[in-house]
């Protein structure tokens, strides 16, 4: 039924009006457009509005309190710690997973033997959920069971590596797990990008006698810009929403040392039954995404129009 319907409309829409051009495609896109408008934009506005209200367990649109929730948010130590952790985790995770992913991809790109096998092994962690990753690394980093114990068993009796229980470095323990999980995916993305580079570029650089590493850095990387942008967006989205990894690995501990903003939002909204505060925190998260995104979008899209 639905197929014939759209078929007819599509056939009957042979008019010059640009609105009816590709009507079938436009009709097909309506559900997604509606989802974007209602779910993303609509709910975002709803959330922002309610972040200015004293909503507790249930939304209370009529109890306006202005900036009170934001004032409390920024006076809470836990939120500040969460933001700091996200900054450390984000910066390190972004740089390291791109660097490691690129190096792995470049190594695989040298047409080595068993490439498929190695690629599968490196990509494999990505198939695991963050919860499993978190638990696995909780065990690996557990001083009684994991790495520390093994190294001590080899004879280094004084070897200490216990990030999970040390408030100062616990976020790096989570970072290790995050990179282990994510860099394989970045590698595959970048490898696909590298394979898209014309073989002639390599031939030309070989004729010129340019060493391989220079070719990668000065020729291949600039040519792979779109792939890097894709990888960047995917990694950044993963960073902002990091939640399950922390919950599985440390539950935010020791103390509040590995809290992250997403966890703060969830717990304030549901455990503490303070929706207003949770909404204020999620609005701040949105704002931080926009601060990064708007200048980038301006450079990426705005620049082209002008130029």
């Amino acid at each position: 039924m639905a197929v014939t319907d759209t078929g007819q409309t599509g056939a009957g829409a042979k008019k010059p009006s640009p609105l009816f051009k590709n009507l079938t495609a436009k009709i097909a896109a309506i559900p997604m457009i509606m989802t974007a408008l209602v779910v993303f934009i609509g709910c975002t506005l709803w959330t922002i509005y309610h972040s200015f209200t004293k909503s507790r367990l249930l939304p209370a649109p009529d109890r306006w309190v202005g900036l009170e929730n934001y004032e409390r948010l920024w006076s809470e130590n836990r939120w500040i710690v969460s933001i700091e952790n996200l900054a450390i985790y984000g910066a390190c995770s972004l740089i390291l997973s791109l660097v490691i992913g690129f190096i792995l991809a470049a190594l695989l790109d040298r047409k080595i033997r068993f490439e498929n096998t190695i690629r599968t092994i490196i990509l494999y962690p990505f198939a695991l959920s963050f919860v499993v990753t978190g638990l696995v690394w909780q065990w690996i980093l557990n001083p009684q069971l994991g790495l520390q114990n093994v190294v001590r068993g080899w004879g280094w009796e004084t070897f200490t590596f216990d990030p999970i229980n040390n408030a100062d470095i616990v976020i790096y323990g989570i970072l290790i797990a995050g990179i282990w999980q994510g860099s394989g995916f970045v590698m595959v993305l970048l490898l696909a990008g590298m394979r898209g580079i014309d073989e002639d570029v390599w031939k030309a650089s070989r004729v010129e006698g340019i060493p391989a590493w220079k070719t990668y850095i000065f020729i291949v990387i600039p040519m792979m810009r779109p792939v890097f942008v894709t990888a960047l967006v995917i990694i950044s989205a993963g960073i902002i929403k990091v939640y399950d990894l922390v919950v599985a690995q440390t539950s935010g501990g020791p103390g509040i040392a590995s809290e992250v903003p997403a966890k703060y939002v969830i717990e304030k909204m549901f455990t503490s039954q303070n929706l207003g505060l949770g909404f204020a925190a999620s609005t701040m998260m949105l704002l931080s995404v926009l601060v990064v995104l708007i200048p980038w979008a301006y450079l990426e899209f705005g620049g082209k129009k002008n130029g």
């Binding site: 501990g253 103390g255 040392a257 455990t271 503490s272």
Partner: protein, 409 residues
């Protein structure tokens, strides 16, 4: 004619059986060994009627389970009955008209006369109507001590909190962690409350919790509480466990000297087949003030359009509060029954201590009854941060605590 009668009889039978037997989904977060044994007593009693108990246990303590339960109720997919801590957690759900009114059952069975202390029923009551069934009394202010650990250290089992602190060095020398502490924030908050009653005294406790008096929170007595709490955090170094029952297990196995935890820890000792007085000692009010706060669990019944389910819900409600079920449940759970007229001769030493305190009326309100979930969450955050970060001074922590109490509701 014969056939018609038969058919009629058959339809009547089908109608009758479908009218009465329903399945009720019950959610709760009782998943540790002792807790699971206790909840199965409810299920057993309910299955003995024509109805069926569908167990919906949610692992990971109340902090994990409550959001799931509440979002299911709000999201229009309510279970038929659910555990919650009575008090203020469900206040807004009741106000929004999402919970079944149990007043008729309560009046018919005279709950007001049997529930002791009556405050428990008051926390279930809003505008004169009863919305939940209290099922047990839990008190958080207990110190659990391992006899095996003290034997290893060669010192006597302490009789109160102060002796416990003094004995800590001997335990450390014997390679025993003096104080086991789970890392979840509600557990540090619980220990904080217990130390507050023991060190600060009941007047201070009541002034801060009931009156939300910020001046009391800033008083020198409160400073003493924070100092004791700061001393306690140093005793737990090396007990890197998350869940409370893992911490209790350290005490059971003698790897830790003691744990400040609620009386539900007792269920774990029972599952491990340990005997109060010979294998472990329990000190209500940390042995200092023999007084307990009476929090506890209650069951709420989300409203249903189906009259059969409503009838079964009310049946379950009256079953939970009935004498036999109360005894069976609370013996397994290690908690105190909510009615004073039951026979608990089978109770062990620790429960008898609790019962005696209860009978003497030495009871206090619990944090969950006094504070909103929001305030409670802030105190959770403060205590867990303070516990794990020794760079936070007593003064800083107290100043932040005063700030929380000022804004408390």
């Amino acid at each position: 004619m014969k056939l018609t009668t038969k058919l009629l009889a058959a339809t009547a039978m089908v109608a009758a059986s479908s009218a009465s037997a329903v399945e009720l989904e019950v959610t709760h977060w009782w998943t540790s060994g002792g807790e699971a044994a206790a909840v199965s007593e409810f299920a057993k009693a309910f299955n003995a009627t024509e109805h069926t108990w569908v167990d919906g246990a949610i692992a990971g303590s109340g902090g994990t389970a409550r959001p799931i339960i509440i979002s299911r109720i709000l999201g229009g997919d309510p279970m038929h009955a659910t555990q919650l801590n009575h008090g203020r957690q469900a206040e807004e759900l009741v106000e929004a008209g999402l919970m079944l009114d149990l007043t008729d059952v309560a009046e018919a069975e005279g709950w007001a006369d049997v529930v002791n202390p009556s405050r428990l029923l008051d926390s279930c009551t809003l505008d004169g109507k009863v919305y939940c069934v209290p099922v047990n009394i839990h008190s958080p202010q207990w110190l659990w001590l391992s006899h095996a650990a003290y034997e290893k250290a060669g010192v006597d089992v302490p009789a109160d909190w102060f002796e416990f602190v003094d004995s800590a060095d001997a335990l450390k020398e014997a390679g025993v962690v003096p104080l086991a502490m789970g890392q979840q924030s509600w557990q540090t908050n619980l220990a904080f409350g217990a130390i507050m009653v023991a060190v600060g005294g009941t007047d201070l406790y009541l002034d801060v919790l009931t009156n939300k008096n910020a001046e009391a929170a800033a008083s020198p007595e409160m400073t003493k509480v924070f100092e004791a709490f700061a001393a306690a955090r140093l005793l737990s170094e090396g007990s890197n466990v998350q869940d409370w029952n893992q911490a209790t297990n350290l005490v059971i196995t003698g790897q830790a000297g003691g744990q400040i935890h609620g009386d539900w820890a007792q269920g774990e000792f029972q599952v491990a087949e340990q005997v109060a007085g010979t294998d472990y000692t329990c000190l209500p009010g940390l042995g200092v003030n023999e007084i307990i706060a009476t929090g506890g669990d209650a069951f709420y019944f989300p409203k249903s359009d189906d009259p059969e389910i409503t009838a079964a819900q009310k049946e379950l409600a009256s079953l939970m509060i009935s004498r036999e079920v109360q005894v069976a449940f609370n013996l397994k759970k290690g908690s105190l029954p909510i009615r004073g007229d039951v026979d608990l001769s089978a109770a062990n030493d620790c429960m008898k201590k609790g019962l005696a305190i209860l009978a003497a009326g030495n009871v206090l309100p619990d944090g969950v009854n006094a504070f909103s979930a929001d305030t409670q969450g802030q105190i959770d955050d403060l205590t867990v941060e303070f516990w794990n970060d020794t760079s936070i001074t007593v003064e800083d922590a107290q100043a932040r605590y005063v700030g929380i109490i000022e804004d408390a509701d």
